[in-house]
């Protein structure tokens, strides 16, 4: 029964220029993603349904499912887009820091500034990250791990430069710094903390967490 259908042959040949059909498909994806982003922000992960997202994008649920396996797939894709952009912003900020403490503070602030306009989406992400099913796949995303790695890199570099001691426990310390960065989001989301307030708080936190790693 083994035979190759013409369709399969077509799919296997490398694409030259994007066909009109591929472009249309890409447009559909972008429309769905934009609608999903808005609904996740307005109603949370749980509250937003595929049906609502399809309606908001002006298409059928079937068209949504043709592009994404399910709601979690859709949400993950949005998160990956954001985390990649955030990663770039944080790395830019880190380069401008004078010394490890300042670099960390700039990284924290790049994150809070990035999410300032999308706090409700961040809220949905936190809710998913603590879920027993959705949590592992969101936390394990390469884009998410890359954010954690940035903190480790900053501390390792500071040890290499001699700014922090060799016994700085880089892994534990960078993990705690990352957790602390995340732990300030509830203040921003629920208590409306300004970027200035977050910065003052973050500066103290970073100082406390680095204290034991200072040389001398």
């Amino acid at each position: 029964m083994k035979h190759i259908s013409p369709n399969q042959v077509a799919a296997d040949t490398p694409a030259r220029a994007p066909t009109r059909r591929a472009l249309a498909k890409q447009q559909t994806r972008l429309k769905v993603l934009a609608a999903a982003r808005r609904l996740f922000s307005e109603q949370g992960y749980e509250g937003a349904t595929i049906r609502d997202i399809a309606a908001a994008a002006g298409m059928s649920t079937g068209a949504v499912f043709a592009n994404f396996t399910d709601k979690s797939d859709l949400f993950r894709e949005i998160m990956v887009d954001d985390m990649e952009a955030l990663n770039a912003a944080m790395r830019d900020a880190a380069v401008r820091g004078r010394g490890v403490e300042d670099a960390l503070l700039k990284v924290f602030m790049a994150g809070y500034t990035f999410y300032k306009s999308r706090l409700q989406l961040a809220r949905a992400a936190f809710s998913v990250s603590w879920d027993k099913d959705g949590g592992p796949s969101l936390r394990g995303l390469p884009a998410s791990l890359a954010l954690e790695d940035l903190f480790t890199e900053l501390l390792s570099d500071a040890v290499t430069r001699g700014e922090l001691s060799q016994e700085a426990e880089v892994k534990l310390r960078s993990r705690m710094l990352f957790d602390t960065y995340l732990s300030n989001f509830p203040q921003a989301i629920f208590d409306g903390w300004s970027l200035d307030a977050l910065q003052a708080r973050a500066r103290d936190q970073i100082r406390i967490l680095l204290a034991g790693a200072r040389r001398g």
């Binding site: 109603q43 949370g44 809710s127 027993k132 592992p136 394990g140 534990l172 989301i189 967490l209």
Partner: protein
Amino acid sequence: MNADVDTASRPPASRQSQKEATRLRVLNAARELFDTHGYQGTTIREIARHAGVAVGSVFTTFASKGEILSEVMQARLDPLYAELDRVMPHLRGSTADRLRTMFAIHFEFEARHVRLFLSHIAAAYDWTLPPGAKPYGHTPRLQEIIRETLQKGIEQGEVRADCDLQEIVDLLMAAYAWTYRLVITREAGTQAMIDAMDRQIGLVAEGFAPRG
């Protein structure tokens, strides 16, 4: 929460006690479901079915599932804090060690129902959360215990007097909550969480120690 003794024998009391029985059934069912299916995976409809009561009667007592979980946790945590109030004054050792013991008691207490605690944290981000709900981070008792321990540390010269105590409290609260992440990412057990927390407390302690 306590039955009013004075009215217990009067006719409306039976309706009252029936209502109380329903409440307890709902809370018990909810505790089991949150512990197995997590916060997102549990619906009020399932809680009602599991408790053997009508969905409508759940809603006459509770406004949302966030409120149900909030009550489940409240009922669980009251005895824990009573226990800590008894234990804390007798703890010896450094400020860091007293904090370690206090958090170890927490991890051991939550160990058997660790998914319930994850639900408790997840609920803090719920869209339908009513103003009265008390998800993680809104339970002041834990913060008070940490602050008292640090205060004692200042008196003993182990904690810098010019420390912003609330900042240290928040750092420890965050470390405590985020340590539960290990359950999600690595299926960590109780001892692994206690070890991770011990090291984090050591690191924060370096930050609040008087400058030598």
